[in-house]
């Protein structure tokens, strides 16, 4: 077995083992931590399709994370207050069913990614980074100034949304949902990378002109990848909102975009399990260093600096000891 495959398997087992141990030891807090890791990793898996596979350094993925979150917040708040979202021209009611919320989140973030991508993909490099950032910030300020859904204070949802056949309030069951979704996203991500679409996307990252000579339009490829990427991050946003039973404009802020990117860089860009390793390390550091000092981000910054300077393959790259084929 390849070393990287082994590391990936260990990571997956580790992420499963922590909450199982916590269940036995009756430490539900750690189950919630593992759930956060799974959700952040899912957001990272989405962004990794754009950055790792497509070479599209999006600094605005908080837009999709936030839209996913607000899809949950808006639907659930209407369900909780028994008020319809819309009565005319047709009746739309709120919902507290997770599958309905997930589908809404995926569609909303997919549409947003289509619009944001269609405009920003006409540029490249630093302009692309800035335009995606600008779209994220636009949504951030929009939610702040939208009193109907809490404005700056956000929205609290009192009951966790339901999933048929499961008690989602039970931490381990909610963890199981996020873990399965993360697993599916990782499988999808692998299949995508190996499909003709993924290979062409990877080739376009190397040279746009060359892929055109084989009859492929880089713009369309990248837009499709950007939409898929946004949808996955949007789904993560919906799960994150459900975990906290709270949404606020912070989900849209550029810090959130930065954090999702940090997961990928720490774990290893373009590595399948990079976001999982990165999110796990991030949460671990937050717990350990956060206990020592409120300013734990300084240490995170130092670590990030070291990774970028000395271990560009991130955790996975360093442990697997081989260059990423898709670097």
């Amino acid at each position: 077995m390849k070393r990287e495959t082994m590391i990936n398997a260990l990571l997956a087992l580790g992420l499963l083992a922590v909450p199982l141990w916590a269940l036995i030891a009756d430490e539900p807090f750690y189950i919630t931590l593992a759930t956060r890791v799974a959700i952040f990793a899912l957001a990272g898996v989405g962004l990794n399709i754009a950055i790792g596979l497509g070479g599209l350094v999006s600094f605005g993925h908080a837009a999709f994370f936030g839209l996913g979150g607000y899809a949950m917040g808006v639907l659930a708040s209407h369900a909780q207050s028994y008020t319809p979202m819309m009565e005319w021209p047709f009746l739309i009611e709120g919902s507290n069913s997770m599958p309905v919320i997930w589908i809404t989140a995926v569609i909303a973030s997919g549409l947003a990614a289509l619009v944001i991508g269609a405009l920003s993909l006409r540029t490249a490099g630093v302009y692309f980074i800035m335009i995606t950032l600008a779209f994220g910030q636009m949504l951030y300020y929009f939610t702040i100034s939208w009193p109907a859904y809490g404005g700056e204070d956000g929205l609290s949802i009192y009951i966790r949304n339901g999933f048929p056949g499961l008690n989602t309030l039970d931490p381990i069951q909610f963890f199981a949902i996020t873990f399965v979704i993360l697993g599916l996203a990782l499988v999808f991500s692998t299949l995508l990378a190996k499909s003709p679409f993924g290979l062409a996307l990877n080739a376009a990252r190397q040279s746009s002109e060359r892929v055109e000579t084989i009859g492929i339009t880089p713009y369309r490829l990248r837009l499709t990848a950007f939409v898929i990427s946004g949808m996955i991050t949007g789904l993560a946003g919906a799960l994150f909102a459900d975990l906290n039973r709270f949404v606020s404009p912070t989900m849209f802020s550029w810090q959130t975009s930065g954090e999702i990117m940090v997961f990928i860089i720490l774990g290893g860009t373009a590595r399948l399990f990079g976001p999982v390793a990165g999110a796990a390390l991030f949460i671990a550091l937050e717990q350990v260093l956060g206990g020592l000092s409120d300013y734990w981000h300084i240490y995170l910054g130092l670590l990030l600096l070291c990774v970028v300077l000395f271990a560009r393959g991130g955790i996975i790259g360093t442990l697997a000891g081989e260059e990423a084929r898709h670097d």
């Binding site: 190996k194 003709p196 290979l199 062409a200 990877n202 080739a203 990252r205 190397q206 040279s207 002109e209 060359r210 892929v211 055109e212 000579t213 084989i214 009859g215 492929i216 339009t217 084929r325 898709h326 670097d327």
Partner: protein, 229 residues
């Protein structure tokens, strides 16, 4: 039946004119050699044909389509299969991935390409960057074939390769012609090998077609004057 015709094609690099009056005609199933000294416009003609350089004047008709306003990816989809100068494989993909990325429905698939170039089958899991020059050339040809082109365009396909590898490439081109009847436009410097595979030749001089006809009708007078061999 006519597959491709370039009529009085002209083109510019910025302000300087590179092509003045290129005329080139390829019949279905024909192998045509595009010849001329360095800097006479062979590669520029190919760039214009593949829509990588804007056309300033003249006409390009390919398989019943007007190529004048077509972007390069569409030209490729209509059936222009380019093997670019300098090979230009996707270095970050493996051999097989290079081929899959380009694949489109048709006769050519991974097996067909491996049959033409058995060495690619041996190296299918290797990164394209780790291949020798000759193997990269085979991969570049294979990649163009995977798009199932109507016309294969080989730009300096044997340049910088060892003689034995060049022979392999020429043998593959001859096999393509013999067994598939694919139309081919080939740019190369070695007249001797060209004469073995090409039916016709078009000679360029300073961005203009100065001679065209059956390749075996090329006299030493013409080759001395325009090609320098």
């Amino acid at each position: 039946m006519s597959l491709l015709s370039l009529t009085n094609v002209s083109a510019f690099y910025g302000a300087s004119q590179a092509l003045f009056k290129v005329n080139l005609h390829i019949d279905q199933g024909a192998v045509v050699a595009l010849m001329g000294r360095n800097g006479m416009g062979k590669s520029t003609t190919i760039k214009v044909l593949c829509r990588m350089l804007p056309l300033a004047g003249g006409d390009i008709q390919f398989d019943g389509h007007d190529l004048r306003r077509v972007p390069s990816y569409k030209a490729a989809r209509l059936g222009l299969g380019l093997v670019p100068e300098g090979r230009r494989c996707f270095a970050n993909l493996t051999v097989e991935e290079n081929l899959i990325a380009a694949s489109r429905q048709g006769h050519w698939d991974l097996n067909q390409v491996a049959e033409l170039f058995p060495r690619l089958r041996e190296r299918h899991n290797q990164s394209a960057a780790s291949l020798s020059g000759g193997e990269q050339q085979m991969l570049a040809i294979g990649r163009a074939l995977m798009t199932n082109p109507r016309l294969l365009i080989l730009d300096e396909a044997t340049e910088g390769l060892a003689p034995i590898v060049r022979q392999e490439i020429w043998a593959a081109i001859a096999k393509l012609k013999r067994e598939t009847g694919l139309s081919i436009l080939v740019v190369d410097k070695s007249l001797r090998e060209l004469a073995t595979v090409a039916d016709e030749a078009v000679v360029l001089q300073r961005g203009e077609t100065v001679w065209h006809g059956p390749i075996n009708a090329l006299t030493s007078d013409i080759t001395n004057r325009y090609i320098g061999v």
